[in-house]
Point group: C2
Chain length 274, copies 2
């Protein structure tokens, strides 16, 4: 299966048609070198955050207290590289196409696998990702400007405080998609059905009220055009943990690199509320 | 029951505690001279629009094509003053505390009962009303500025075209409630569950995009304060039919007077989607 995947991986239609397992194996063997956007359509992808066990209780509590930015969809046992609920043969240390290594709150390296860094005391958290709700928005007929423009979604640090837990504290990071007001209302209705992948937006229309001075200068990702009849709509973003790691300064952590997600075997449709 | 109601009708708490039937009988006997706001909490109230039978098919089609502004919750048989599904002993010609009489698109009189005007060819439509979703907003912890200020909700004619049917055509009328962006998102989630009483908002944040030049000068109702951290949120309004009657100029029609609704026996909770 992986070799078939490798042969046709340059074709976006083929990549989109893969199962979660096929996409994950393609990431493992290096066939997907960068972003997992557009890979294995319909399957849930996740943000990754890995901490030493002594920090895991605090991070779990932080995530529970900030469910819109940190909706945990899977957690490993200490030392294990598997989360059976999320995927067959899933290996947390090899299946993400890009990892960031953190020491004392700073990124000290980027790697395509971290097997040699995995320790018996590491606990991994997988956090729902906007790729799932973006699929629902597209199915609902709504436009995604960053996809139209072929760039990464713009993300911004805000003044919205996260509820702290232990050393984990800081401000929410949000992603932004421009929509007309009527589309924004429809987008709230659609994404409210997906609380495990950030759910409904947290803010809209007035970036100044959440500390964003310039929509054209995102803190992560790329700027996108906002039409004269559009308003910016902001969703809580799974990059929030990385911003919080920078504040909490744990001595060691591993995360995914932006856009390089863990592809699971779970279907987006499983995560939709009735 | 009606006499008990009459004795204590000056007490808002008592009026709120009435059943739909008690509230309706109090309207019939003149105990409720004006607005039905705050009467029979928890019971659905409705806008009224009455036409000669030869216009009924067109109006029904108009309502079906414009479900956000004209969600029909009940319709009478020609000539009948009852809609059994909406209420026990309900009399369409006496139970609304204020009626408007229309001829050729203009209001020619306001009355507290219209029994002598009822004809064998009249068909009545009852249309869901924002009082139901406002109750849900309050239960959800959201503020209602016009209630805080003790005034009528501001309503505006917009540039949003209704989908026409026969002679019925015109622009949507909206009601406006100021909320913070986060409250607005929550309000979308809450009111989306009530499609039979206008449902989710139709617009927000940018009045200029729907032809509203001055929020301080509503076309119906009263202006309300919009805070510096708030945006205006607009819902389709059951006054739309009255605006459309003014355009369609039917030779005869009866409607409720603004704020003077038909109180039904149906519970708001019955109208909530799961």
């Amino acid at each position: 299966m992986a070799s078939t995947a490798m042969m046709s991986a340059s074709d976006p239609t083929v990549r989109a048609s893969w199962t979660g397992l096929e996409g994950r194996l393609a990431c493992r063997d290096g066939t997907i070198p960068g972003s997992t956007a557009g890979v294995a359509d319909g399957y849930v992808q996740g943000n990754l955050a890995v901490f030493p066990e002594r920090l895991a209780d605090d991070f779990r509590l932080f995530a529970e207290r900030n469910p819109k930015s940190c909706p945990v969809i899977g957690e490993s046992r200490p030392g294990s590289r598997a989360i059976p609920d999320l995927g067959l043969d899933l290996d947390l240390a090899t299946d993400v196409p890009g990892y960031r290594i953190w020491r004392n709150g700073a990124v000290v390296g980027e790697r395509t696998e971290v097997a040699d860094l995995w320790r018996d005391d590491l606990v991994a958290f997988v956090i729902g990702c906007s790729f799932s709700f973006e699929a629902a928005l597209v199915e609902g007929g709504l436009p995604l400007r960053h996809v139209e423009m072929g760039v990464r979604v713009p993300m911004y640090r805000t003044s919205i405080p996260c509820v702290p837990a232990g050393p984990f504290a800081g401000q929410m990071v949000v992603s932004m998609r421009p929509l007309t007001p009527a589309q924004a209302i429809r987008a709230v209705e659609i994404t409210a059905r997906y609380p495990r992948v950030h759910g409904a937006p947290v803010h809209l229309a007035r970036p100044d009220l959440i500390g964003i001075r310039d929509l054209g200068a995102p803190d992560y990702g790329d700027p996108v055009r906002v039409g004269a009849d559009e308003i910016p709509v902001f969703w809580a973003c799974g990059v929030t943990p990385q911003s919080v790691i920078a504040s909490a300064r744990p001595d060691f952590a591993i995360t995914h690199a932006p856009g390089c997600m863990l592809i699971t075997d779970r279907l987006n449709a499983e995560f939709a509320m009735a």
